[in-house]
Amino acid sequence: MVKKIMTGNIAAAWGARLSRTEVIAAYPITPQTIIVEKLAQFVSDGDLKAEYLHVESEHSAMAACIAASQIGARAFTATSSQGLLLMHELLHWASGARTPIVMANVNRALAPPWSVWVEHTDMISQRDTGWIQFYAESNQEVLDTILICYKLCEDKEIQLPAMVGLDAFYLSHTSEIVDIPDQELVDKFLPKYEAQYPIDTENPLSLGSLSMPHQWYPEFRYKIYEAMERVIPRLYQIEEDFYKQFGRRYTGPLELYNTEDAEVVLIISGAAAGTVKETVDILRKNGVKVGAIRLRMFRPFPKKELVKALSNVSFVGVIDRSFSFGHEGAMFSEIKASLYGTKFSPAIKNYIVGIGGRDITTDTIKKIFDNCFNCLKNNKIDAHVEWVDIKV
């Protein structure tokens, strides 16, 4: 194991390198660019034996990854924002074709106006594509999650693609100490990819052809549904293996922070979770019973785990770093829906924060906690959705 100081982008590239990805097809976009550059360097230096395709768009990048995966190669790509959106059609194709592709997505806002800074709308709007979705908090987690994802995605009972989100600039361009695991250990953890049904001329299969309503289409979809249901239990097992192999522990789809006796809990995903946890520490020092939950995984949605974690909480503030126009934050909707019909139903409010990369400070989070306590005291939620720190 080597410790190095590196950005989230470099950590993502290392994740792909250590996973021994065999086909990389990617297209540059700020702030993801360094991932594809670093991978190109690895390939040029012979440190990674892979076919590197300089595709002409993200759409083609994903098409090439799907095909490569169907032939039986381990495929990787990275993108961000507009690039992820351009892939949208093929994201559905990748999961429908059951290709265990892993992708790093640098979470970035969408235009117009142009913004290259963090927001989660790009990934949240891929919610229904059938991809497993992780949101990382640190550069170490970016690297490790890529290894975990390949193991998870290639599991014979799962066979689905996954994306790992890393917040633009806060992770992509910020340096942290990262442990680079030994290649031999990674090889032990993540053996060579063996496709279940590789396309082969000795056994001519036809993949993805037409299916009439009375034939197999719903069954194909049902199988994806079933596979998604298996993801979280399998994730716990894989993370246990990961801990044994590398000594780093991950906590499944949620990270709980001081939630056990908390009266008010804030839920967030991505790098800003660090700020929330710091604020929790500050408030706890003053005896305020607050906690935080970091949502590491958005698909499959960890409803059971969330409900359990919230069972003794009186008030939940959900921080969305994206917005579903005409409604509310998507995470908020999902969390509310998860609580429906449960015995303990905490009050819940949506905070839209840090849109387009606007800084989230401990002051912002304190303000949100204050508001939560106010609502709790008055026994009334002042607004269903609140856009925090908005100038209008």
Binding site: E56, C65, I66, I71, W93, I199, T201, S206, Q215
Partner: protein, 298 residues
């Protein structure tokens, strides 16, 4: 084994769902006869996506990968890259098989990218001159004068007045190692060109004339004759582009376009004047092609 130069082996079995007389069937049949068993074919949305049958059936004796409409060349790139890294590329032909819409319109970006990257793939466009799978809408390869459902004949005209994109020139501008036009009405020429394509190391583009009785509105048994007329009138010249040189494979431009147009319902509304205009255009294009051949071979 070959009969009169044509391999006897078949890779298309009975049970396909194409219309009677579909040109795409002949194109794929000749293509696969030459390429043989070690071929992986990828197919986007188009008529041919429906032709081989519904899951889990297939009437093709080779592996098929289906993909989204605009991805044929990108998918073929991914297949080739994966075969290469797996050490299997040597004996496998990677084929992209797409319609004119999937090639000249929505998929042209991916095609350009794949040729530029130099993948060892054979891209075949079967050109039935419209979006047939969605019911005969205009594509950028719909010929001058044709009526389609999006160029319907109306009180003020409405039929297509623009000419086809020249796909061979477009791929030639990429400095592609080999490109050629083929027409199933000329099977020996077709076979020879695919045999050549098979040997090329790098991207190949094949533009295949592909009759469509349903969309062009003629009786299915006329298909081969219409195909011959297409080449004899110079509407669909047979030629190659190889190592930067154009080479015309069939030089007898002996017939007038009217003979070709009058057999098909899609041209029925045209006036003599308009057809003369088309004739002028075709003659000019033919002269240009002769010049291209001459100049590039100098």
């Amino acid at each position: 084994m070959k009969r009169a130069g044509i391999p006897t082996e078949e890779f298309i079995y009975s049970g396909h769902t194409a219309c009677p007389g579909c040109g795409a069937m002949l194109v794929s049949r000749y293509l696969l006869k030459v390429l043989g068993k070690n071929t992986i074919m990828n197919i986007p949305a188009c008529c041919f996506a429906a032709i081989p049958g519904t899951f889990p059936e297939t009437c093709l004796g080779i592996p098929l990968l289906y993909n989204a409409f605009e991805t044929t060349a990108a998918t073929a790139s991914g297949v080739e890259a994966a075969l290469k890294i797996k050490g299997r590329k040597e004996k496998i032909n990677v084929v992209g098989f797409a319609g004119d819409g999937g090639t000249a319109d929505i998929g042209i970006q991916a095609l350009s990218g794949a040729i530029e990257r130099g993948h060892d793939i054979i891209y075949v466009c079967y050109d039935n001159e419209a979006y047939m799978n969605t019911g005969m809408q205009t594509s950028s390869l719909t010929p001058m004068g044709a009526s389609t459902t999006t160029n319907p004949v109306g009180k003020k005209g409405g039929w297509r007045t623009r000419n086809k994109k020249n796909m061979i020139d477009i791929v030639a501008a990429h400095d592609i190692p080999y490109a050629a036009t083929v027409n199933p009405s000329y099977p020996m020429d077709f076979i020879k060109k695919i045999e050549k394509a098979k040997e090329v190391n790098g991207p190949v583009y094949i533009h295949a004339y592909s009759v469509c009785p349903t969309g062009w509105r003629y009786q299915p048994e006329l298909g081969l004759e219409i195909g011959r007329l297409a080449t004899e009138t110079g509407i669909f010249p047979l030629y190659e582009f190889e190592d930067g040189k154009y080479k015309i494979s069939y030089k007898k431009k002996t017939k007038q376009v009217i003979e070709y147009y009058k057999l098909q319902g899609r041209f029925r509304h045209l006036s003599e004047d308009f057809i003369n205009e088309v004739q002028t255009k075709i003659d000019k294009e033919w002269q240009k092609l002769l010049l291209k051949e001459e100049c590039s071979n100098r």
